[in-house]
């Protein structure tokens, strides 16, 4: 066991907070991610991470809770992308790109003021790439509450959403209003991005959103199966990433740790690659 889990892993309070928050975030990201992948909204999801990033930077400028910053910006930004309501795919693509660029510019401005006129340090690192090991334990209750609300909202809109993405005619026949559904979903997406931004940073939260979901969708048949698989893959990625980051302290004599976000993304990549290989070769023989 010593070679796998280095000493102090289960007794370190910093690690405990990270494991709990990481698992909660992974569940939400994976469940939302399945719908994102099915609806083909990965790029919109990424644009939201940039909007959330601006919010996180603004929050650290004002000294507010980063989760609130991520959340507020994501909801406002996502709501306005959706309200702009570009119907054609190309218009939508361009609108998303413009919002993304503007948000990144705003982030640069906010982070400049953070470093030039406040005493906060490391904000660039924690907003962009996350710092789950420094999250205060007092954030956990708020994080869990946001996660629960997001999952409930997702459960409510999931069926009509998927129906309208897979078969718009059938959905229209059943009286589903695609615009309203889209709006609710963008809010759900914003909340999920805000949560994962806390753990692996705003920029990398796309990886946690899309990676486990796409891996699970490749290997499982039904959407329920895919969702459960994505949740398992997401939680595994975050917890293994945290473990690897903790253990990496002992890999070099200088005790230089690998950041959690890099470890989590590495595990996600392995999952995606494995699922692709399995779908290509494993299934044929089985």
């Amino acid at each position: 066991m010593r070679w796998l889990v280095e000493p102090g892993f289960f007794t370190n309070p910093v690690v405990g907070t990270a494991l709990v928050l990481g698992a909660v975030v992974a569940v939400v990201s994976a469940a939302v991610g399945v719908v994102v992948v099915v609806r083909g909204q990965s790029f919109a999801g990424h644009a939201l991470t940039d909007v959330a990033m601006a919010g996180g930077a603004g929050a650290s400028l004002l000294g507010a809770s980063p989760l609130l910053g991520f959340l507020l910006a994501g909801v406002v930004g996502g709501g306005s992308i959706e309200a702009a309501g570009a119907e054609r795919v190309r218009d939508r693509d361009v609108a998303t790109g413009v919002v993304l660029g503007a948000a990144a510019g705003l982030t640069a401005l906010f982070l400049y003021f953070v470093s030039s006129s406040t005493s906060a340090t490391g904000s660039t690192q924690s907003v962009l790439f996350g710092s789950v090991f420094t999250v205060s334990p007092s954030v956990v209750p708020l994080g869990v509450a946001v996660a629960a609300a997001t999952l409930v909202a997702l459960l409510v809109v999931r069926r009509p959403l998927l129906l309208s993405s897979l078969s718009p005619e059938l959905a229209a026949a059943r009286g589903v209003r695609p615009r309203a559904m889209g709006l609710v979903f963008v809010l759900v997406l914003a909340a999920s991005v805000a949560l994962s931004a806390l753990v692996i940073g705003a920029i990398l939260s796309t990886a946690l959103l899309v990676g486990p979901a796409s891996a699970a969708l490749r290997v499982s048949r039904g959407l329920v199966g895919a969702t459960l698989g994505a949740i398992a893959a997401g939680v595994a990625a975050v917890e293994l990433g945290i473990l690897a980051s903790y253990d990496s302290f002992y890999w070099s004599a200088a005790h230089r740790s690998v950041p959690v976000s890099a470890c989590v993304v590495a595990v996600v990549l392995v999952e995606v690659a494995t699922s692709a290989a399995w779908a290509r070769w494993g299934r044929g023989r089985g």
């Binding site: 102090g8 370190n12 309070p13 910093v14 690690v15 990270a18 400028l61 401005l109 400049y112 003021f113 953070v114 470093s115 030039s116 006129s117 406040t118 005493s119 906060a120 340090t121 490391g122 904000s123 660039t124 690192q125 924690s126 710092s131 090991f133 420094t134 999250v135 205060s136 903790y246 302290f249 200088a254 005790h255 740790s257 950041p259």
Partner: protein
């Protein structure tokens, strides 16, 4: 803003001021630089503590501007503005720390090369490598006398008519630093060997001059200084130093806060370990020697009476 001798500070840079300035920069208006007082040597110092020493040596024949003089901002996150480039372009003497701490100065100097400008780099004056791990050289009591002597030499070369005046000002500064050294020796005699914890390596040179033992792993201090998250193992080590009361005081960089330092300060308060603010750049209203004296007195107070000093005044 350029003023003759002592009060060289910029007007306070609040957040609103910064935002307003950004607005000005965005609308394309040029940043203006006030004129230098006639008959004085224009001097730019990268940090306010070097500006203070330059002003003490240069007296009324030097107009000193400090580039980084906001004691509320983290100097490691400093970004240079166009007005700094203009001030450096017309300066005859530039004073900077080196050791990678103020690399932006090299960039600004290279942008306006001038054979008439002399540059004093503290790290080079001390004969140190630019890769030295702890760049906060001004906390070493031997640094400023050497830098002041280098400043005096360059001022005398730039303005030979006032050579004697600069030499007399340097002698006065050296006398003030001798008082500081006596105070350090008295501290050492009383407290040498006591253990303290820090959040950053800002004051480490002073701590070793004072004979104190810094029990914090250097990796942790460097991570906080560089704005990266320290490893949870190191966070655990430092937190247990404080909660187990295995250190006599926690010395916190007053200019840098992060979730890690905030948590640590809270733990110290809970464990009744006194907290002392170490400023990274010189706080306003101080001279270099008064600042160092105030820091030493604050640490002595923490070690003898357990009292915290969260702000120098």
């Amino acid at each position: 803003m350029v003023l003759a001798s002592a009060p060289w500070h910029r007007s306070p840079w609040g957040l609103a001021g910064g935002l307003a300035l950004a607005g000005v920069a965005l609308c394309g208006c040029a940043a203006s630089v006030p004129p230098v007082a006639p008959g004085t040597v224009p001097v730019v110092a990268a940090e306010s503590q070097y500006a203070d020493v330059a002003a003490q040596v240069g007296g009324r024949y030097a107009s000193v501007v400090a580039v980084m003089d906001n004691p509320n901002a983290d100097p490691h996150g400093f970004e240079v503005s166009p007005s700094v480039a203009r001030e450096v372009a017309r300066a005859r003497l530039v004073v900077q720390n080196g050791a990678g701490y103020d690399d932006f100065m090299r960039v600004v100097e290279a942008a306006s090369p001038s054979p008439r400008r002399r540059v004093v780099v503290a790290q080079r004056v001390l004969g140190l490598a630019s890769s030295i791990a702890n760049p906060h050289l001004w906390y070493d009591p031997t640094t400023m006398p050497a830098v002041a002597a280098a400043i005096e030499g360059d001022l005398a070369r730039i303005d030979p008519a006032h050579r004697a005046y600069f030499a007399a000002r340097l002698a006065r500064f050296d006398a003030a630093v001798a008082d500081l050294r006596a105070r350090i020796e008295a501290f050492r005699a009383r407290f040498a060997g006591r253990r303290v914890a820090t959040t950053e390596p800002v004051g480490d040179y002073l701590l070793s001059a004072l004979g104190l033992v810094n029990a914090t792993p250097f990796r942790f201090q460097a991570d906080v200084m560089n704005g990266v998250d320290p490893a949870p193992q190191d966070v655990g080590t430092v937190e247990s130093l404080v909660t187990g009361r295995r250190v006599a005081a926690l010395l916190v960089n007053a200019q840098v806060s992060s979730p890690v330092t905030t948590t640590l300060t809270g733990l110290a308060e809970g464990a009744h370990v006194p907290v002392v603010a170490l400023y990274e750049t010189m706080p306003r209203g101080f001279t270099y020697q008064r600042w160092m004296t105030a820091e030493i007195d604050a640490i002595a107070r923490a070690l003898s009476t357990g009292r915290s000093t969260r702000r120098l005044s």
